[in-house]
């Protein structure tokens, strides 16, 4: 076993300097979920905190796509919001490479194209708002030209600018969201479940558009999804999150071909297989525990078939295998796992 331990809080080789558009180090976000002050006083309740993101580190290579996957409550959307600055981190670092510039470096495409567009604004104004706000164009004519160009970029017609969001279908609205996100000429786009509100045939249109844009504009994506097949299609690297921590991170080929962490295997195993109709499979029992009171040691140990005493008490460190495969698991470290057919 050629694994060497890398401290989570320590520095890693080859950080922000070359190749990475975004470097995240030991990022932590805790939310205060205490009862109101008076209740604490009267009922003597302590302050309570939820660690939504718990010391995670990753790099997103320039022009690439890193996906964060995991089930609801694993903290993947919190990471997205931290990266675009909608939340401020409790501790840790988020560093962008300094090529792009200052303003509008990152923008976000949200999940729900119905609630993320102002229903009272015309599409033109929705797309023009960031341009006007950041004064990226000096005259209104230039703004108009830019908005029309953006609408064409995402496959809409310039005339669509005069319409309101309700006149569009879900897929077209998501195109508007993408146009708005591109308005500031970002180098980095955070996409939080951009297709999960869409139907499959429309999802394919949007995924194709996003890949085209990546090639044409050299965008870097941080992609958040729970859909493994979408993630596989979009990403160069995949990070699997469980209860606020990254449990495994690897190039997507490696992750799908040789998943190491028991949780990754569980996730891959639960994807309904189109090519094996009606297969009977063993269903792993259990659900994600509450992040308010996560299990001790490795957070996955109550559901893990390989868990032992050490997993219950000691949090696994992040190991680096084969150069670019990060994994946090005692069983893998100790070689207590069967590479195939473990499920």
């Amino acid at each position: 076993m050629s694994a060497k331990s890398v401290g989570v809080t320590g520095t890693r080789k080859g950080t922000t300097e070359a190749g990475a558009a975004l470097a995240v180090r030991a990022l932590v976000k805790t939310f205060d979920i205490s009862a109101p002050f008076l209740n604490r006083l009267i009922e003597r309740k302590p302050r309570r905190y939820l660690r939504a993101v718990d010391e995670i580190s990753f790099d997103v290579p320039k022009g690439g796509c890193l996906s964060l996957v995991g089930e609801s409550g694993c903290g993947k959307s919190t990471v997205a919001r931290l990266v675009v600055g909608l939340y401020s981190p409790t501790s840790g670092e988020i560093a962008f490479s300094n090529s792009g510039g200052e303003q509008g470096l990152t923008t976000m495409v949200f999940q729900d194209p119905y609630s993320s567009l102002n229903p009272r604004w015309r599409v033109f104004d929705i797309v023009a708002e960031p341009i006007r706000e950041l004064k990226l164009r000096s005259t209104e004519n230039e703004v108009r030209a830019r908005v029309e160009e953006l609408l064409q970029t995402v496959g809409l017609s310039p005339r669509d600018g005069r319409k309101y969001p309700h006149e569009f279908s879900g897929g077209q609205r998501q195109r508007i969201s993408i146009a708005r996100a591109l308005a500031t000429e970002p180098a980095f786009l955070v996409c939080d479940e951009p297709t999960s509100a869409l139907d499959v045939s429309v999802q394919a249109q949007i995924l194709n558009l996003m890949r085209d844009l990546q090639d044409r504009l050299g965008l870097t994506y941080l992609f958040i999804s729970h859909d493994m097949s979408v993630v596989r299609h979009m990403s160069d690297r995949i990070a699997v999150m469980y209860l606020g921590r990254i449990v495994e991170e690897a190039p997507s080929e490696t992750l799908f071909e040789e998943p190491l962490h028991p949780y990754t295997r569980l996730l891959l195993d639960t994807i309904p297989a189109l090519d094996a109709p009606n297969r009977d499979r063993e269903i792993t029992a259990g659900e994600v525990p509450s992040p308010i009171d996560p299990p001790s040691g490795c957070a996955f140990h109550p559901r893990c078939p390989l868990a032992n005493q050490r997993c219950k008490s000691e949090r696994p460190a992040v190991l680096l295998r084969d150069g670019d495969h990060q994994i946090a698991c005692h069983a893998v470290e100790e070689g207590r796992y069967a590479p195939a057919g473990m499920t």
């Binding site: 139907d199 499959v200 045939s201 394919a204 194709n208 979408v230 297989a273 094996a276 792993t284 659900e287």
Partner: protein
């Protein structure tokens, strides 16, 4: 009563004429609006046999949920059944008065909806809700009903069922809540279960548990299940037969292997191709341009013709009927000789 139910079902299977559990004939569901009558479901016919899971798959607005709701007699006014018949065990149920239908619903047709939190009453314990449902349909004493409720919770895989029966819905996790909803649907041993997007609100690992549970119940109880979903993966894994809906019509129906692996209808084909493959990265996904027409603007002829790359002049004029194709029945002029190359 319970015994009777068993007796009648066994009686039926032994009888000379074996009815399918559910038979829908030429169903048309309309919504009259200020701007004219909208067809939500047009000319849908399907059957489900005992112990069989029929998947209804399609994108939003395809009419799959409406078909399920029509079967349950739960169409929201002004929506109504304009044409067609719905037969449960050979007897028409679509024309029954609401009082009669209320007896069938829950008793003979169970329903599982997408969101388990809204299907359960937040102010009553799950036990109280189960006992109420059981006693409404079966003549059991309170303590018998409670024992049955515990058995049901055990059957759907809730650990420590006898302790958890007195918990409120909010004390259960999403997956466990959906199990409670399934237990409620099973309470009166229905012949037919209509599951409308039962896994959509759940995480993937829980989704797999719920589909496995549905299949087990279908097998063990020999119930007929109508599984309404937009997720091809869930269908592939759970259903025995599949009907693909587009703009209110069935475009292809057949055995799950045939429809998933060798779809005949261009729409079904496009739908399958647009799912990102797990085996490896492709440069581009096959996409169907455009989106499904809204019910107020369904085009003449085949509703899919404006998005179809193979459409010929005939497709714009006449609606194709279902014809036998290899392993399935397909409604496309390609197979009924209407498209000349």
């Amino acid at each position: 009563m319970l015994m009777q139910a068993h007796a009648t079902t066994t009686g039926h299977s032994g009888a000379a004429i074996a009815h399918p559990v559910l038979e829908v004939r030429n169903l048309r569901v309309v919504f009259p609006t200020r701007h004219g009558v909208l067809n939500a479901v047009s000319d849908v016919s399907l059957t489900i046999n005992k112990g069989e899971i029929l998947g209804l798959v399609g994108e939003s607005g395809a009419g799959k949920s409406m078909t399920g709701m029509a079967t349950l007699g739960l169409l929201e006014p002004p929506g109504r059944i304009a044409e067609g018949e719905i037969l449960l065990d050979g007897r028409r149920i679509d024309n029954l008065p609401e009082r009669e239908m209320a007896k069938i619903r829950g008793r003979r047709i169970g329903a599982i909806f997408q969101d388990p939190l809204t299907s359960l009453h937040p102010l009553f314990t799950v036990g109280a809700q189960l006992v109420e449902t059981i006693r409404l349909h079966l003549h059991l004493s309170r303590s018998q009903a409670r024992r049955r409720a515990i058995d049901l919770l055990k059957e759907v895989g809730i650990p420590a069922a006898s302790d958890r029966i007195d918990d409120y819905p909010h004390q259960f996790s999403g997956g466990m809540r959906q199990r409670v909803v399934i237990a409620l649907a099973l309470a009166a041993e229905p012949e037919l279960i209509i599951a409308d997007e039962p896994t959509t609100a759940l995480d993937v690992s829980i989704q797999a548990q719920i589909t496995a549970l549905l299949r087990r119940i279908c097998r063990e109880r020999a119930a007929a299940v109508m599984l309404v979903t937009h997720d091809m993966g869930v269908i592939a894994e759970t259903a025995d037969r599949v009907a693909v809906l587009y703009a209110g019509r069935i475009v292809e129906v057949g055995h799950v292997d045939a429809v998933i692996h060798a779809p005949k209808h261009p729409y079904a084909k496009g739908l399958m191709d647009s799912i990102p493959p797990l085996e490896g990265r492709v440069a581009r996904l096959a996409q169907i341009d455009g989106s499904m027409p809204r019910p107020d603007s369904i085009p003449e002829g085949c509703a899919f013709h404006s998005r179809c790359t193979l459409a010929g002049p005939h497709c714009r004029i006449a609606v194709p009927g279902l014809v036998e194709t290899e392993g399935s029945r397909t409604a496309c002029w390609l197979y009924s000789g209407g498209v000349e190359a």
